[in-house]
Subunit: 328 residues, 2 copies
Amino acid sequence: MVQIKDVAKLAGVSVASVSRVLAGLPVVSEPTRKRVLEAVKELDYRPDLAARRLRSRRSDTIGLVVSDIRNPFFTEVSRAVEDVAFNHQMRVILCNTDEDPDKEASCLELMRDEKVSGVILSPSLKLLSHFTPGDYGFPIVLVDRYERGIEADAVLLENFDAAFRLTEHLITNGHLHIVFVYGAESATGRQRLEGHRAAMLKHQLPVCTEGVKPVEDQAREAALSVLKRSPLPQAVIASSGLILLGVTEALRETRMVIPRDIAVAGFDNMPWTQLVQPGLTVIAQPTYEMGREAIELLLQRIATPDKAMRQLVLRGELIERGSSAARS
Amino acid sequence: MVQIKDVAKLAGVSVASVSRVLAGLPVVSEPTRKRVLEAVKELDYRPDLAARRLRSRRSDTIGLVVSDIRNPFFTEVSRAVEDVAFNHQMRVILCNTDEDPDKEASCLELMRDEKVSGVILSPSLKLLSHFTPGDYGFPIVLVDRYERGIEADAVLLENFDAAFRLTEHLITNGHLHIVFVYGAESATGRQRLEGHRAAMLKHQLPVCTEGVKPVEDQAREAALSVLKRSPLPQAVIASSGLILLGVTEALRETRMVIPRDIAVAGFDNMPWTQLVQPGLTVIAQPTYEMGREAIELLLQRIATPDKAMRQLVLRGELIERGSSAARS
DNA sequence: CTGTTAGCGCGTTCAC
DNA sequence: GTGAACGCGCTAACAG
């Protein structure tokens, strides 16, 4: 194995100079710099990362801790995080928590053991409820989930406003009797519920909700029971992509025709939402952008740890499709 | 920071004994063992991974190199890999290549620099064409993509047979004029094409294919042109989930009714395939299982590097839905 | 601007 | 069964 002293020998300089060149320190003269780089190329020298990390106490690694990478939102976020990290010569290590506080704790310990430069975290409701960024030895940026008043960096959707606009859109189209199916154990779900509630109150309409665990099956079950009610509601809103999937399955099972029998709308512009007849009206989250913003915020935090915490609130886009068309 | 000598001091033993206990070596006496573990707990000692890795020359890290984590197949695989790795106290680092040979090379170099224990790789057609596992300093398990004759561990679908069965299913239902839209730059796509071709030849039917880049847009475009043909084909088969998405979009744009105007079938049982009226017939890949098998094969290879290479070929399940119903 | 040198924290030989 | 001591490959501090 070729190591730094081999490079130093070939270039006729000390190991310190080699180290300086590789670190990009501007204190080396151009001639030495050039000779070192030649020697590096000549020998195909690869620095030993373990040794570097031991000595420098830095890992150049970012942790990504989410509930489930299979959630399309997090899939997209992870892709963005990996892209930016790769461009910054940093690694990403991934951890799935399944919303389980114990597993969250293990993952965060793992990140501490790895001495990660920072973590992008999507916390469970429980963890979020008593979250303090200072409890960990590394900076953390929250993504998707955040509660007002917490002193932490975060990137999130304007959940309240998005749900408000989506609800008003349905009301405008004449759908007044709406059931809001939402993730009861999710910060996001609750915030979207508040936006929905505000819109209904503004129009003096009764609020009718159905809290579910944020799982496709549960949402399907809940939707099936809603669809058996008499009178049938005029519309259903789903507070997340997974729940929208469950609701749509229920609609299909009961052979309901959208929007003739019932209107539908929800969150997350997944590829299939335009395929389901007659197209599903959704709030599209800028998911890739959220991931990119999260890691860039994290990199800034790493660079300047003492700046004030920031919350970046992005706007969702209302995509109107046939599923919420006006009642005739 | 608490380190190994602190533990040794508190337990009243040498650092060597602490190291032996933590490594699980069976040469330590029960009393010392117990006292060491108590001291570890007492001090909440966490071994420094960088130091351990430098010394032991092992990283306990698995690399996952795929074209795009957003491809639902790889999303599921990555979840499986992460689950198993977590249970084995190993880390996963992720790399997206976008099917770009240069990026593949960078990712594999990155893995070498990280001194990963092994890599799970889904190679581009180009990389696969001259792939030799010995070229890298670590074991590699191929997933999803493989070419007969290559001396490498691999986990894949029985592509030929699956495409054969899917095609025969359509033929049985009276769809004789079939267009096969496939990923021309993909090993998987080509193998599935061969299976399709064999089925068509067996029934003495003409083979009609449409090679596309494995991107949703391209598949949509190709399908649109197919749908303009006269006479209209009786069925379309898509060789992957992404292509099936594009084809379905084209069908929707042209207001075709499935299967009255044209029948459809494809690969990958994504959640939305049952939502699109009247449900899409697909070959379901055991994706999670493939990921699990891949990392378990890798762990075995790491444990016993000299055993013969193995290829694990899993069977896809034909899920019949309305989109391929018999012609009336 | 450059070189010398002392550790970073751990695993592992080798004596005992 | 146990401990002392060396060195993994590198960075940073200091001296020149």
